[in-house]
């Protein structure tokens, strides 16, 4: 089973249980369909970070308050701010199936999430290689909504990236990203190679989550 299939299975709540053939077939079909239709777009920029006291910092001149992000970025001199999306095509596909096939819809949802993560991992690897040339190390991605970093920072991030224009990524009044299969994230760049291999899931303190990576 490839990595994205494993991830999709996890998002579907299987935990350590074996996945049934019917679902596995749906996952295969869903990835095929997504590979054909989903857009993959990313925009990122690098900004300086200045630390102040009490979890306060300035990223590219914007004030941000979050102890958890502060911890994640400790020792960094700059931050990669990024936004990525699978585009409105993916939303359309899910809406279309939600009328006729709910099982397919939830599987598409999970596969979309896995595909987006995979895409971000690939992009992150490129960014890592670029940064390494300048002697910089990349920290794990940290997104609004993780820990105490409010999702209200979506607006700031989208604006810093000019994301609506560059990749068609915008948000609702309630700070939800549109299209729905989208991510914004911050990644610290530091001179020191601190062991910080925590990826999204493990950084979360909701330890009883049914989707948690084991």
């Amino acid at each position: 089973m490839d990595r994205r299939t494993k991830e999709a299975v996890r998002y579907l709540g299987y935990g350590n249980h074996a996945v049934d053939d019917g679902t596995l077939a749906l996952i295969g079909d869903s990835f095929d369909e997504l590979d054909q239709t989903a857009g993959r777009r990313i925009v990122y920029r690098i900004f300086d970070v200045l630390f102040q006291s009490g979890g306060c910092m300035e990223i590219g001149g914007f004030p941000v308050t979050s102890k958890d992000l502060g911890k994640n970025l400790r020792g960094c001199e700059s931050v990669v701010v990024l936004g990525a999306t699978l585009g409105p095509e993916t939303d359309l596909l899910m809406r279309r199936y939600s009328l006729t096939d709910m099982a397919k819809t939830v599987v598409l949802q999970a596969c979309g999430a896995a595909m987006l993560e995979e895409y971000l991992d690939e992009q992150q690897e490129e960014i890592r290689q670029e940064a390494a040339k300048q002697g910089l190390y990349v920290r794990p991605r940290f997104s609004p909504g993780y820990g105490d970093l409010s999702i209200r920072y979506q607006e700031m991030i989208l604006r810093m990236l000019d994301a609506p224009k560059r990749i068609g990524l915008s948000m609702t009044d309630g700070n939800m990203l549109t299209p729905t299969k989208s991510v914004t994230a911050l990644m610290g760049l530091s001179r020191q190679n601190i062991a910080c291999h925590i990826r999204g899931c493990e950084a979360c303190n909701k330890t009883d989550c049914m989707f948690r990576r084991s």
């Binding site: 249980h17 359309l92 279309r96 009328l99 006729t100 096939d101 709910m102 224009k165 309630g174």
Partner: protein
């Protein structure tokens, strides 16, 4: 006057603004529009340099100046727009020394929000935001409105309508494409041009996104489709990054060189976007040196479009799906009366899957608010299919309402040769754009001869011309009459078809199946007449694409006439099939059944749709439907539900079972109805995703399961305001409401909804669910029940109604 010069002489726009302001100290994320007031001198300086470099049209620094973006600014929008126009005029006075005529263009960029249904910004709200800034712009003395960097056809439609309806200024539009020639929202060049020409913009084109080199293929494609002058404003190359800064590295000379190629393609207005500077514009104007332009030739293609797709009516015929229409369809009528939008959407998807290229949409019934229903159906259809739609109504109010909110250039069904009809319909086509079906009848009725019908077609085409509606936007319907009552009428129709094609060269359309009314085995006549009509020049048949007979005619015709290259489509459809005709989709489903004898219970437990269909149909021959439901269906669903709770069955399996059960239910319901049995009166439950929340998958899962357990779910959709939910609960006397929310920010709306429901409908219970909720949270906002998963809401609903019934 600008509108007199556009397309007749070469005109120059200015270049980039953002990059220059950044070099003067503007920070990323800062609102540049505020600089009109705080840094007026810097702005005048930039504008002046562009005038000195030769620009004829200079944009105000108002790209993001709209009410939506300016909610956090301490400066008023009017103040900003006034200053922005003033800055350009001041710069013109300083920088134009040769007395040439120059223009101040009010620059209007996107709102930065995604429109419904993908986002949460309503079409009319977007319109309002644009209207405000455009009015200020005209009052301040702008000479034109330039709408640019748009990546969504729907948003650009709102902007163009706002400009046209609220100002008298010329309107130009440029959109942002990627290297594949697509908008970020999926639209392609022909779909964009079809819509914008329909809206009667003065010039259109492409800006931003890439450099002049990458833009060349798009310019080329635009020239192929556009009949209005084309604007080209590239960036100084693709954006690159160095030390965290974005930069562009195409030099002024290189820029000018490539812009020369752009001119050779036929662009009439050129300028620059991000990263271009006064130096780029100077190099460009010196290169171009006011050379003569060739105005774009009028194109003859008949194009209808949706936000993502253009359908060109050419020699290869297209299929217009006829099924979204209540005429003669009991179930469809009932769906309309019960406001069952899902039923209508499924009809659309089925037709798309069967091969339709355009969908006809008719929702007319007596005693129905057709205008609002038409708007709703069109909006919802456009959120699940990218096929262009044909707005089919005799109600002019409904026609206009639908044309206004339609995303793209629609097909309109119909106008006819009566003066009254043309007087009502043509102004709408003139305003919103569209390809209109022209019925060849007039005050005298339907002519009994082909010549008579051809003549009326001519009259309609002529009258349309008075409104500036070109022939390509008329598709003539010479009318199919029933041969059983009017012998010889088929021949007249075919002759008329040939006649209008020959005489006017216009595209044609026919409602094909009328021909066989009153005859046995109608598909046989329909399919043969369809082939004959195609052979006589039918461009678009309004047919049922799920009819195998019709599709055989269509695919054969395309293969025979060499419209289907290497017979590829034909082979794709028919490889592996024998020559016999299947008797409809249900039979096809049955034929494929895998394991015969698999019991209904097992089929549902394993989530096998086809087997469930088959087993239910078999059982219903010997047992009563209600017995089957109680003996097999419900126990199967219960078993799956229990497994889900125990953690041995998972969500996809639960839903596969639910979908299988749904199919079995449908079979049994049909049997019940045929026997004239009363279906049980069901308990109503409202489901909604609360205001501000656009994630509805959780709600949809709950819906499927509740429907399985025979509840009548009233699905209010997503992003639903509290008032709508409360009003519906009162009106329908609903005793259970389920609310869903994904994020902490929208739980607030959930709380508001609960509060309102308590006041308006105190006897109604409320259950809540969603990623962010837990028992504690649910208690805090005053819900009656927290469902941690979809099955819990089923159990709770059963409990509530068991008590109450």
């Amino acid at each position: 006057m600008l509108s007199e010069r556009l397309g007749k002489e070469l005109l120059y726009f200015d270049g980039g603004m953002g990059t220059l302001l950044q070099s003067k100290g503007l920070k990323p994320g800062e609102l540049p529009e505020v600089w009109n007031l705080t840094h007026a001198d810097e702005l005048v300086d930039v504008h002046r340099q562009y005038f000195e470099a030769g620009s004829d049209i200079v944009l105000t620094n108002t790209f993001g100046a709209n009410a939506l973006k300016f909610h956090d600014s301490k400066y008023g929008l009017k103040e900003i727009v006034d200053a922005a126009v003033r800055n350009v005029k001041k710069a013109a006075a300083l920088g134009v020394r040769d007395g040439r005529e120059i223009y101040t263009a009010l620059d209007v960029g996107p709102t930065g929000k995604l429109l419904k249904p993908m986002g949460d910004l309503g079409f009319e709200a977007a319109y309002e935001a644009f209207r405000e800034v455009m009015r200020y712009g005209e009052e301040a003395g702008a000479d034109l409105i330039h709408i640019e960097t748009m990546s969504d056809t729907y948003e650009v439609k709102a902007a163009v309508l706002a400009a046209k309806e609220n100002t008298n200024l010329p309107v130009t539009v440029t959109m942002i494409f990627d290297e594949k020639g697509k908008l970020l929202t999926g639209g392609d060049v022909p779909s964009v041009i079809a819509m914008l020409e329909g809206l009667r913009v003065d010039a259109l084109g492409v800006n931003c996104g890439m450099g002049p080199k990458q833009m060349l293929p798009i310019v080329k494609e635009m020239m192929k489709y556009s009949s209005v002058p084309v604007i080209v404003k590239p960036n100084a190359g693709l954006p690159k990054q160095r030390d965290g800064e974005v930069y562009y590295d195409v030099s002024p000379e290189e820029f000018a060189d490539t812009m020369e190629k752009v001119l050779e393609e036929g662009a009439c207005v050129i300028g620059g976007c991000c990263g271009t500077t006064p130096d780029h514009i100077r190099a460009m104007t010196q290169m171009a040196d006011r050379r003569p332009v060739h105005p774009p030739a009028a194109k003859e293609d008949t194009i209808v479009s949706s936000y993502g797709k253009a359908v060109v009516l050419s020699r290869k015929p297209v299929i217009v799906g006829e099924r979204i229409n209540p005429t003669g369809k009991k179930k469809f009528k009932q769906a309309l009366k019960e406001h069952d939008i899902d039923y209508i959407l499924k009809e659309g998807i089925t037709q798309q899957d069967s091969g339709a290229h355009i969908l006809d949409v008719n929702v007319g019934l007596p005693d129905i608010d057709e205008a609002s229903l038409m708007q709703e159906v069109i909006t919802e259809l456009q959120s699940v299919t990218s096929l262009p739609l044909q707005i089919d109504t005799v109600d002019i109010k409904a026609m206009e309402a639908a044309m206004r909110i339609y995303n793209g250039k629609p097909m309109i069904n119909s106008v006819n040769g009566k003066k009254e009809s043309m007087d009502a319909v043509f102004p709408l086509i003139q305003k919103y754009g569209g390809v209109v079906v022209a019925l060849t009848l007039d005050e005298e009725g339907i002519p009994a001869t082909a010549e008579g019908r051809v003549k009326i077609a001519g009259k309609i085409i002529n009258e349309a011309g008075k409104y500036g509606i070109p022939k390509k936007d008329i598709v003539v319907d010479v009318l199919t009459m029933t041969i059983s009552s009017e012998p010889g009428s088929a021949q007249i129709t075919l002759d008329a078809l040939k006649g209008v094609r020959k005489k006017y060269g216009v595209c044609t359309i026919l409602g094909v199946s009328n021909i066989s009314f009153g005859l046995p085995c109608r598909p046989v006549i329909n399919a043969n007449f369809y082939t004959m009509a195609l052979q006589n020049g039918l461009s678009a048949g309004i047919i049922n694409p799920s009819s195998e007979d019709m599709m055989r005619s269509y695919h054969s015709f395309c293969a025979l006439m060499n419209y289907d290259k290497n017979c590829e489509e034909y082979i794709r459809y028919y490889a592996g099939q024998t020559g016999t005709v299947a008797a409809g989709p249900k039979a096809a489903l049955g034929q494929q059944a895998g394991t015969p004898g698999l019991s209904l219970k097992t089929a549902i437990e394993r989530g096998l749709k086809e087997e469930a269909y088959h087993a239910a149909a078999e059982l219903s021959k010997t047992q009563e439907p209600l017995e089957i439901i109680n003996q097999y269906l419900i126990p199967a669903l219960d078993a799956v539900g229990k497994g889900f709770e125990k953690g041995t069955v998972f969500l996809p399996q639960l839903l596969m079972s639910a979908d299988a059960a749904k199919i079995a239910f449908a079979v049994l319901k049909d049997v019940l109805e045929k026997k004239g049995g009363e279906t049980e009166k069901k308990d109503k439950i409202i489901l909604a995703t609360v205001k501000g929340d656009i994630h509805d998958i959780g709600k949809n899962i709950v819906k499927v399961l509740l429907e399985n357990y025979s509840f009548d779910v009233i699905d209010l959709g997503k992003d639903v305001p509290p008032e709508v939910i409360a009003a519906c609960a009162v009106k329908e006397d609903v005793r259970l409401v389920g609310l869903s929310a994904l994020m902490t920010t929208t739980v607030v709306s959930m709380e508001d909804t609960i509060r309102l429901l308590r006041r308006e409908k105190p006897d109604c219970k409320i259950m809540v669910g969603g990623a962010v909720l837990n028992q504690e949270y649910a208690d805090m906002i005053g819900a009656d029940f927290y469902g941690k998963d979809a099955m819990q809401s089923v159990y709770y609903a059963q409990e509530i109604f068991a008590k109450q019934n």
